[in-house]
């Protein structure tokens, strides 16, 4: 059981005005149980909705925990990631508690060993403070020595949801929306280059880890607590992730061999092994075979992520060089 802090209703010592703030941000329902103020975060299962976390002198009301889906699979709860409200300002926050795990995951036939590291995320948060294309936050060490990240919740939608929500066919998308999406990706990819130049990785680049902020339309990276170690090509997995984002945006979705077999057999017949991803063999990278109006110059960028490539992008800068060149035409 997490150590309960000194403060608990009935035992006195609750700061003046705390009940009112809880009611203001959590509703009267939040007052139907004794208020519980916690300072230690080691046992995140014990921290439940309407608990109050006291971190670095600020009070946060817990509203629940986050979920994460894995493309088409049911969302799984992330009990170590709590939704919260800063009781002073009313700002929505995310509190990430310590959860060390290491696991292997397969990218196609290749196994990558990942580590979830609060320390890495805290370091990256410091590095990107004030950077417009990253989620913002800071780390607090609780009395038990646990690294808790307090993150600003970004009101926005994942990039893939934005694109999926467009009621357009691909050709109309290509002419009317794709140029803007590609232009918006340039600073977002540059942001990853910024991490790499500082010796850090994102670690989990996915199209749903780019949030499009409602108010500004700015794209922001989230969720950078994963790390992997690959001394031969430290940023290769990140670059692979950027390629997947680019392919998704250019294609207005993912296009697989199986989809084409069923829906566009005339295209399927023209596909060759070199048109697919070397890592995710079912994914088509040569999008010009599906969308013949896609410019060769753009398609050539995508083909750098295909089996047919003689040379892969070694760095974000190389990818950006070609992308900027294409956009400047």
């Amino acid at each position: 059981m997490a150590d309960v802090a000194a403060h608990q209703e009935g035992a006195g010592h609750l700061p003046a005005g705390l009940r009112e703030k809880v009611a203001q941000h959590g509703g009267e329902y939040a007052l139907e149980r004794p208020l519980r103020v916690l300072t230690e975060t080691a046992d995140f299962f014990e921290v439940v909705p309407y608990d109050i976390m006291l971190l670095a002198g600020r009070y946060y009301l817990i509203r629940g925990h986050e979920y994460e889906g894995r493309f088409g699979l049911e969302e799984t709860p992330k009990y170590w990631v709590k939704r919260a409200v800063d009781l002073e300002t009313g700002e929505r926050k995310i509190l990430k508690f310590v959860f060390h795990e290491s696991f292997t995951d397969k990218l196609g036939a290749v196994t990558i060993r990942y580590v979830r590291s609060p320390e890495k995320e805290a370091r990256v948060l410091d590095l990107v403070r004030g950077h417009p294309y990253f989620m913002q936050g800071f780390a607090v060490i609780d009395p038990g020595g646990n690294n808790v990240r307090v993150l600003d919740r970004i009101p926005g939608k994942p990039l893939d949801h934005v694109i999926e929500g467009l009621a357009l066919g691909h050709e109309e998308y290509f002419h009317t929306r794709l140029p803007d999406f590609l232009s918006a990706l340039v600073p977002v990819f540059e942001a990853i280059g910024f991490l790499h130049a500082a010796g850090e990785k994102h670690g989990d680049i996915r199209r749903d880890h780019i949030l499009v902020e409602h108010a500004t339309g700015t794209y922001k990276w989230i969720d950078f607590d994963l790390d992997y170690f690959q001394p031969e090509h430290p940023y290769g997995v990140d670059i692979f992730g950027l390629g997947n984002v680019l392919l998704y945006v250019a294609g207005m979705g993912i296009h697989t061999i199986s989809d084409l077999y069923h829906e566009r057999p005339e295209v399927f017949e023209r596909l060759r092994e070199e048109d697919t991803s070397p890592v995710l063999r079912h994914r088509v990278c040569n999008l010009r075979k599906i969308f013949p109006y896609l410019p060769v110059e753009l398609n050539n960028i995508l083909l750098h992520f295909s089996m047919g490539a003689d040379v892969f992008y070694d760095s974000v800068d190389e990818l950006l060089y070609d992308l900027r060149d294409y956009l400047a035409r």
Partner: protein, 150 residues
């Protein structure tokens, strides 16, 4: 004048193959060659280990393994005719972003005339994700000869 060769080593069979090749080429030569067997360890972030001394243990284990590999490669070179005093070893712990960059930095610092690296067979997926040290060296090496041994 001594010709200096930096021979990249790791535990793989193709690194030993590269050592055998170097031995064949320079072993019986009348020219004077000095071969440095080099292993590059990219310093891992402590985040990657659950125990506090994980990174140190990782380095110690690598050193122990490479001691044996260096001894084996040195024996191969001596068998080919290179004298022991012309064989050196370097265990390099680097903060460079990758093994290739570590080797290139060592080549530059030591002004080696030749950089030798073995190329292992990798799948396209592995090459994409993990890169190819030999490809990076071919692209970025300056002021030296590069031998890639398959």
């Amino acid at each position: 004048m001594v010709e200096t060769i930096l021979l990249a080593m790791d535990e793989s069979e193709n690194a030993l193959r590269a050592a055998r090749y170097v031995g064949r080429i320079v072993g019986g030569s009348r020219k004077s060659f000095e071969v440095t067997l080099a292993y590059v360890l990219v310093r891992p972030s402590p985040d990657l280990f659950e125990e506090p001394e994980g990174a140190k243990k990782y380095e110690q284990e690598a050193r122990a393994k490479m001691e044996a590999v260096f001894a084996q490669a040195a024996a191969v070179l001596q068998e080919a005719g290179l004298s022991a005093e012309n064989i050196r070893t370097r265990f390099i712990v680097t903060d460079e972003p990758g093994i290739a960059q570590g080797l290139l930095a060592e080549q530059k610092a030591g002004r080696y005339g030749t950089l030798v690296v073995g190329r292992r067979g990798v799948t396209k997926a592995e090459e994409f994700l993990f890169g190819s040290v030999s490809n990076k060296i071919i692209h970025h090496a300056k002021d030296c000869a590069v031998w890639v041994v398959e």
